[in-house]
C-alpha cells in the first residue's frame, strides 16, 4: 500500500499511519474492523481539510465506518434563527461533506452516539476519532482504539489498518489511579451532571494516567458513562477508564489494576462535587435565554426523560430548548410520540448537529444567547470561554435544565 499500487489516497494514508506508528515505536500494523471518521466542522483551517480530502480521492472505505455530526441540522436549518449568511456557508460545507461520505461509502450516522449502529465486542480493534466515542468504546465495550485524529481515522477507514500501540496493547490498559466515590453521595441517585462533575474533577488530578472508579452503582447506564467520557478528557490525556464491577475489564479492583497496587488514591465527596459544579457555572443572572441538552447526543432514554419532565408544560416564550440527537434515535422517538410532546411544548429535537463545537460558539451572539443552561460541562465551559465571557452558563441536572426552559429562569442548585 505504501508504494502507491492501491492509489494515492491509500499511499498517503499508509504514510501517515507509519509516521504515527514510528512516533510510538509500534512494531507492526494490525487490522481494524470498524472506523469512526470526521471532517472539521468549518473550513477555517483549509489546509487541514485538504489533508482529509486527499485521503478520500478515488477510494471507498474498506471497513464499516460511521461518522461524526455535521455543523448544523440541514433539514431544519431555517428554523434555528440563524443569519442568512451563516446558513448559506453551513449548507455549502454540509452538502460537500455529505457528497464525499456518500462517494466513499461511509454510513451517514452524523452522531457522537454511533455505538447503536454496529455491535462491538471486547478486545476488538477499531479506529475511532472523537474523544467521547473513543473513550466509551474502550471503557464501556472493552474494544480497543486510541483516540484517533480525523486524519488517522480516515486513513484507517480506507486501509483497514492501524499501528499497534497505546490502547491496542493490554499493558497500556490497566488502571493506575483509584478514585473512591464517597458512599454518602448516594450515587444511585446521580444525575448526568453529577457524572460530568465526577469525571471533570478526576481529570484534573490524572494527567496521563488511567482512572479506576470505585463506588459507582452497578446499574449505571451507558448514558451516564458517555457523559463521563465527554468530561474527563478535557482535563487529562488517557483514552479510557474503568468502573469496578461494571466495565468489562474491571470485574474486580485487582483486575482493573492488573494485579498492581494503585499509584495514588483519591476520594470524591460532597466538597469535590460542589467545586466542579461551581467551576462550570459562569452565570450570575437567573434569566435564561437558551437550554441545551445533547452533548454528547441524547439517547432514546434521555429524550424519554425530557418528555416526561415536560409533562404537559410549555417552554417559556423567551427561551430556546435545543436537544441534539441522531437521526435514528429521533425516528424512534417520533414513533414513541416523544417528539410530538417535546416539540409541541416548544422545544427542538435536532439531528446530525454538534451544538457544542459548531453552534455555541460561534453563533451564540447571533442567536442572542447571553445566559444558557446545560447538562454538558464542555458546552458550559466552551460557550463561556470562546465568547470571551459574553455568554455565561448554568450547569446542572436534566430536571433543573428542563425546569429552566419552562420557567425562563434558573432555579437549580
Amino acid at each position: 500500500m505504501l508504494n502507491g499500487e492501491h492509489g494515492s489516497a491509500v499511499q498517503k494514508a499508509m504514510e501517515l499511519l507509519v509516521k504515527v506508528g514510528n512516533a510510538y515505536g509500534a512494531e507492526r500494523m494490525i487490522d481494524v474492523t470498524q472506523s469512526y471518521v470526521a471532517f472539521p466542522l468549518s473550513e477555517e483551517n483549509q489546509s487541514f481539510s485538504d489533508i482529509i480530502y486527499a485521503l478520500t480521492e478515488n477510494v471507498t472505505v474498506k471497513i464499516p465506518t460511521t461518522n461524526l455530526p455535521l455543523p448544523l441540522d440541514l433539514q431544519r436549518i431555517n428554523e434555528l434563527g440563524l443569519p442568512e449568511s451563516v446558513i448559506e456557508t453551513a449548507q455549502k460545507i454540509m452538502l460537500q461533506r455529505m457528497e464525499i461520505y456518500r462517494r466513499i461509502g461511509v454510513i451517514p450516522s452524523y452522531t457522537c452516539d454511533p455505538h447503536f449502529l454496529y455491535y462491538l465486542r471486547k478486545g476488538e480493534h477499531v479506529a475511532f476519532t472523537e474523544t467521547n466515542v473513543a473513550m466509551l468504546t474502550n471503557s464501556w465495550f472493552g474494544s480497543r482504539t486510541n483516540i484517533e485524529g480525523m486524519s488517522t481515522a480516515m486513513a484507517s477507514a480506507i486501509t483497514g489498518k492501524t499501528p499497534e500501540y497505546g490502547l491496542h496493547l493490554q499493558e497500556n490498559r490497566y488502571g493506575q489511579v483509584l478514585i473512591e466515590v464517597s458512599a454518602d453521595l448516594e450515587t444511585e441517585r446521580f444525575d448526568y451532571a453529577d457524572y460530568v462533575a465526577l469525571a471533570h474533577w478526576t481529570g484534573k488530578i490524572l494527567f496521563d494516567q488511567i482512572a479506576v472508579y470505585n463506588g459507582l452503582p452497578k446499574n449505571i447506564r451507558p448514558d451516564h458513562v458517555k457523559y463521563m467520557c465527554a468530561s474527563q478528557i478535557y482535563n487529562s490525556a488517557a483514552g479510557m477508564f474503568h468502573i469496578v464491577g461494571v466495565t468489562p475489564e474491571a470485574p474486580t479492583l485487582e483486575a482493573a489494576f492488573g494485579g498492581k497496587k494503585p499509584a495514588q488514591r483519591f476520594i470524591f465527596g460532597r466538597k469535590e462535587r460542589a467545586e466542579a459544579y461551581e467551576e462550570f457555572c459562569s452565570a450570575t443572572e437567573k434569566k435564561v435565554d437558551m437550554v441545551v441538552v445533547g452533548c454528547p447526543h441524547c439517547s432514546l432514554n434521555e429524550i424519554s426523560e425530557i418528555a416526561q419532565l415536560l409533562n404537559g408544560r410549555k417552554i417559556n416564550k423567551d427561551v430556546r430548548l435545543w436537544i441534539g440527537t441522531s437521526l435514528h434515535t429521533r425516528a424512534l422517538a417520533e414513533r414513541m410520540g416523544l417528539v410530538d410532546i417535546t416539540e409541541g411544548a416548544g422545544g427542538l429535537i435536532l439531528t446530525d448537529v454538534c451544538i457544542r463545537a459548531a453552534v455555541l460558539p460561534p453563533y451564540s451572539e447571533a442567536l442572542g444567547v447571553r445566559v444558557l443552561a446545560t447538562t454538558s460541562g464542555s458546552i458550559a465551559q466552551n460557550a463561556y470561554r470562546r465568547s470571551k465571557g459574553k455568554t455565561t452558563a448554568w450547569f446542572g441536572s436534566m430536571e433543573d435544565c428542563i425546569d429552566a426552559s419552562v420557567k425562563g429562569k434558573w432555579e437549580g442548585r
Partner: protein
C-alpha cells in the same frame, strides 16, 4: 541526565535530557512551560498565538517561536488540527516537548504540522525546564539541551 557547568560562562548550567522521537526535526528557542496538561485548541488565540484561556497559568503569553513544554496533551480530537493552523498563521511554537505521549491527537498534530516533537523522558523534564530557559531540540536523536 547530564549536568555540566559550561567553561568560562559563570553560572550557566547545561542539562542534557534524552527522550524519544515523536516527530523529527531540529529547533532551538526559549522554553514556555506549562505544569499541567495542555491543549493548543481553544487555549491559544489563532490570530496572535497568545494563550487567552481565562485564568490559565500562561494567560497572556505567546507560544510563537517558543519551545513548548508540558506534561501531556488533553481535550477534543480537534486538537489534531491546531498546530497546523498556528503554523499557517506564523505563530506556531518551534518545537514541542511532552512528558508523555498518551494523548494521541497532540502527537498527530505535530506530525501533520511538521513540528519537531520529543517526549517520554526518564526523568520528568518539567522538573528541570523553566520559562525562559534556552532549549535546543534534536528530535531526530530525541535529545534536548537546556541552558539556564
Amino acid at each position: 541526565m547530564r549536568q555540566s557547568k559550561e567553561n568560562g560562562k559563570a553560572g550557566k548550567i547545561r542539562i542534557i535530557l534524552r527522550g524519544r522521537t515523536g516527530y523529527k526535526g531540529i529547533a532551538e528557542g526559549e522554553a514556555l512551560v506549562c505544569r499541567t496538561p495542555f491543549m493548543f485548541l481553544s487555549y491559544v488565540d489563532v490570530g496572535s498565538g497568545i494563550i487567552h484561556a481565562k485564568g490559565h497559568e500562561l494567560e497572556g503569553k505567546s507560544v510563537k517561536d517558543k519551545i513548548m513544554v508540558f506534561p501531556c496533551g488533553k481535550g477534543s480530537a480537534g486538537e489534531e488540527a491546531s498546530l497546523l493552523m498556528l503554523k499557517q498563521v506564523g505563530v506556531a511554537p518551534k518545537a514541542v516537548i511532552m512528558g508523555s505521549a498518551v494523548y494521541v491527537p497532540g502527537v498527530i498534530g505535530a506530525i501533520i504540522a511538521n513540528i519537531p516533537l520529543v517526549y517520554g523522558f526518564e526523568q520528568n523534564c518539567l522538573g528541570v525546564i523553566n520559562n525562559g530557559d534556552h532549549v535546543k531540540v534534536d528530535a531526530d536523536k530525541g535529545i534536548i539541551e537546556v541552558t539556564k
